[in-house]
Amino acid sequence: MFNVLAAIFSKEYVKTRTSMLILFALGISLAAVIYFDLNRLFMLDHPEIVWYHTLDLKQIPYGIFKYLPMLSATVFCFCQFLPEMRDERLRISLHLPCPLGLLLLAHIVYGLIFLMALMIAESGAILIILGRKYPLAYLPEAFWTMLPWCLAGIYAYLCCAWVLLEPKKKTKVLGLILGVCICTPLFQHYTPGAFSTAYLPFILGIPLLTVSLFLPALHFRTREVE
């Protein structure tokens, strides 16, 4: 099992290393933009005014980050799975002598590990920037605000993988609908941190959706129609 995971991880690394680097650079650039924006805010106004806008009026000074995890996840998913689906190259992987479930899981887990690392790095950088300008008590609220956006990124990756792997058009559309239905509430403009008590179902959904990706892979493996 370890051998299979190591082999698949090395293949995925070779395939996606350029896109990983670009996405990481994009995340760091965005954190830099947030840093300079925040500096400018504190230069233009008194700190207590900026704090008032953020802490009492619930304005989000790092709002530019909102759609980045979803965008990164979608781009990464295309970079990971499009070369496999072009000319149906996935058939080569599916013929490898290892269980289909393990093979698929190795691909998805690789993607999830990278995306989580990317999001932790991006949101961590933002929290560090915020920590330099705001009281530390503000950071949990910022964390709970960014978490749904990161979750939307994870779901976007899984649903995008579903759409790319699935050969049947109707089931492709189902994956797309699923993605829209899950991600839409995560982007609603609630009070920052409003989701803090409702994350459990969203987090539990990730392993469920990961396992359900076995279905499109199975459809691809033994499809009945061309």
Partner: protein
Amino acid sequence: MTVNPVSVEHLFHSYGPKIIYQDLSLEFEPGKIYGLLGKNGVGKTTLIKILMGFLKPKAGFCRIFGDLANAISPATRARVGLLFERHLTYNFFSIAQVERFMARFYPKWKRERYYELVDLLGLPSNHKISWMSEGQRSQVVLGLILAQDPELLILDDYSMGLDAGYRRLFVDYLREHLKDGQHTVILTSHVIQDMNRFVDDVVFLRRGGEVTVTGLEAFSSNFHCFRLPRDMVKGEVLQSKLAKLACQSAGRTLEHIINLEEHASYFELFTFNTKEEVLRDLEGLGLKASPPILTEVAMDLEDAFVGYTGRH
């Protein structure tokens, strides 16, 4: 009990109303090289996809070493080498990376076989596969398959995109490595002449799922072409009768003639029978003539293939 590497049992498959196979049954014996032949649209690629387990038939089964083709166990997959159309492989890998990756999955991996073939390309080991020509890529793919040391090889249109030199190299290498008679090969190709140098048996697929399995030598020696000059066929009625037969599958109407092709100045009659038996069929149509009007024409494998399956 010995299990055949591949067995096809009562296969039925269709695309919409078009039936590809109806009750197709075949056995592929161990140690033989089979050429799967047929015109475009008869279901060669469909059969290969079903055998590879990437298409589920509407009815019937295909078994690979006893496993159902669409549910092959990992242990059985390790015994099967697949070559996909257009020599598909992971384009993002380099020559060395793809070898290292594949080696992790196959217990009997023979690294030297891969490099024996790939070294002929004279490329550095960090050369990307995506930078290669179709011919160069075919060498890499063949090297990977031979390094697996599989007992069964399924090669889907291995000649596609290859020039004569690379085709020859491909076939020669395969022959060299498979000469121990321990491997079973099922292949399709659009270049029929290459099969002459390589296959033991040919499997002819015809429209509607008709199938004939025969030894290549037996086919080459028993299948004949006779030429009937058009001016020896007196009368417009008889000429049009023959022309009409040429548009159909002649074998359905005539007892001994498999196929009849119409040309500007002659008809060609293809048969597994003797000239006398063919003449009896023609006499049944109303053609009165003595045997010399039929001239036997020498055929190579491609002529025989076209003669057997028809041009249309």
